[in-house]
C-alpha cells in the first residue's frame, strides 16, 4: 500500500478531464470541484 500511495502522489496533473462522471444524486459531466486559494484562506 505504501507503494500505491507514493505512486499516486507523484502523478502530477495537468489535465482536469473526467472520463466519466456520475453523481451521488444527479449524474452529468463535470470537472470536479475547485476553488481559489485566496478566496478560501486569503
Amino acid at each position: 500500500m505504501k507503494y500505491i500511495e507514493a505512486e499516486l502522489d507523484i502523478i502530477a496533473f495537468d489535465a482536469m478531464d473526467v472520463i466519466t462522471t456520475r453523481g451521488l444524486t444527479d449524474g452529468g459531466e463535470g470537472n470536479g470541484e475547485e476553488d481559489d486559494f485566496g478566496e478560501l484562506f486569503g
Binding site: I4, D14, I19, R22, G32, E33, D36, F37, L40
Partner: protein
C-alpha cells in the same frame, strides 16, 4: 451501604451514573463495613460492546440515541440498510437494520499538485482526491484546514475515474472496494504557502443521515515536489 462510582476508563472522567453507551468504563465499588467489619473499595473495568450480532444486524436506536457510530475492526461505517446486501437504505431511528461497513482505506484522501511545479513556482494548484464504494450516500466532502482555518467542501458529484498527467487514476488505488472518486482542487496557491500544511479529513453522509469522518491526512506542497 454499598456505593458505586462509574468512570470513563479512557479519560478517567467520573460519570453521573451507570453508563449505557458503548465504551470502556471503570466501576469503583465502596462497601461500608459499619462498626463490625472493615470497609473496602474494589475497582473493576469493563466495556459495553458494539451490539451488532453475527449477521450484521443491530438495534438502530441504541446507536442513534447515544449518538454512537457503529465500529468494526479495520472498517468504516457506511450506513443502515434493510437487507443483508446493503442496497436499500434504512432511515428509521429505531428498529433493527443491517450495518454496512467498508474498508478503512475507502474513506481516506490523497493529493496531487500541478504538473511542473517547482519550489520556485509562483503559484500552483493542489487536488485532493477521496474515494467511495458506491453512490449510496447523501453527500461526500472534505474538510480542509490551513493555518488554523477550516473550510467544509461537500459535493454530490463523484467520478468513476480521473485523468492525471495523461494517466488514468482508478478508484482501486484506494481500496479494492473503491469504485468512485471525489476531486477537489484549490487553485492559485502562492509560493509563500508551499511549506504550510493542508490537513484534509474526508467524510460522507449516509442515507440515514449519519456523518462519518475518515482518516485525516496532511499534505505540504514542498514535500510533494519531486
Amino acid at each position: 451501604m454499598v456505593k458505586y462510582t462509574y468512570y470513563n476508563a479512557d479519560t478517567d472522567e467520573e460519570l453521573a451514573g451507570a453508563p449505557s453507551a458503548i465504551g470502556n468504563y471503570k466501576v469503583e465499588v465502596y462497601a461500608d463495613g459499619g462498626s463490625n467489619y472493615y470497609s473496602r473499595t474494589q475497582e473493576a473495568t469493563y466495556s459495553i460492546l458494539n451490539p451488532i450480532d453475527e449477521n450484521g444486524m443491530a438495534d438502530v436506536e441504541v446507536f442513534k440515541d447515544n449518538d454512537v457510530i457503529p465500529e468494526a475492526e479495520g472498517k468504516t461505517f457506511a450506513g443502515w440498510f434493510t437487507d443483508s446486501t446493503c442496497t436499500t437504505p434504512y432511515t428509521g431511528d429505531s428498529g433493527e437494520a443491517y450495518a454496512k461497513f467498508v474498508d478503512n482505506k475507502v474513506l481516506t484522501v490523497k493529493s496531487q499538485i500541478s504538473n511542473g511545479t517547482t519550489k520556485n513556482s509562483a503559484k500552483t494548484s493542489i487536488r485532493f482526491i477521496n474515494s467511495l464504494d458506491s453512490l449510496n450516500y447523501k453527500n461526500v466532502g472534505l474538510k480542509v484546514t490551513f493555518n488554523g482555518n477550516t473550510i467544509d467542501k461537500p459535493f454530490t458529484k463523484v467520478h468513476s475515474s480521473l485523468i492525471a498527467n495523461g494517466k488514468k487514476v482508478d478508484p482501486s488505488v484506494f481500496s479494492k472496494e473503491s469504485h468512485y472518486l471525489g476531486a477537489y482542487t484549490i487553485k492559485n496557491i502562492p509560493n509563500s504557502a508551499f511549506y504550510s500544511k493542508f490537513t484534509v479529513t474526508p467524510y460522507y453522509t449516509t442515507q440515514d443521515g449519519t456523518v462519518v469522518e475518515g482518516t485525516p491526512n496532511t499534505f505540504t506542497i514542498a514535500n510533494m515536489i519531486k
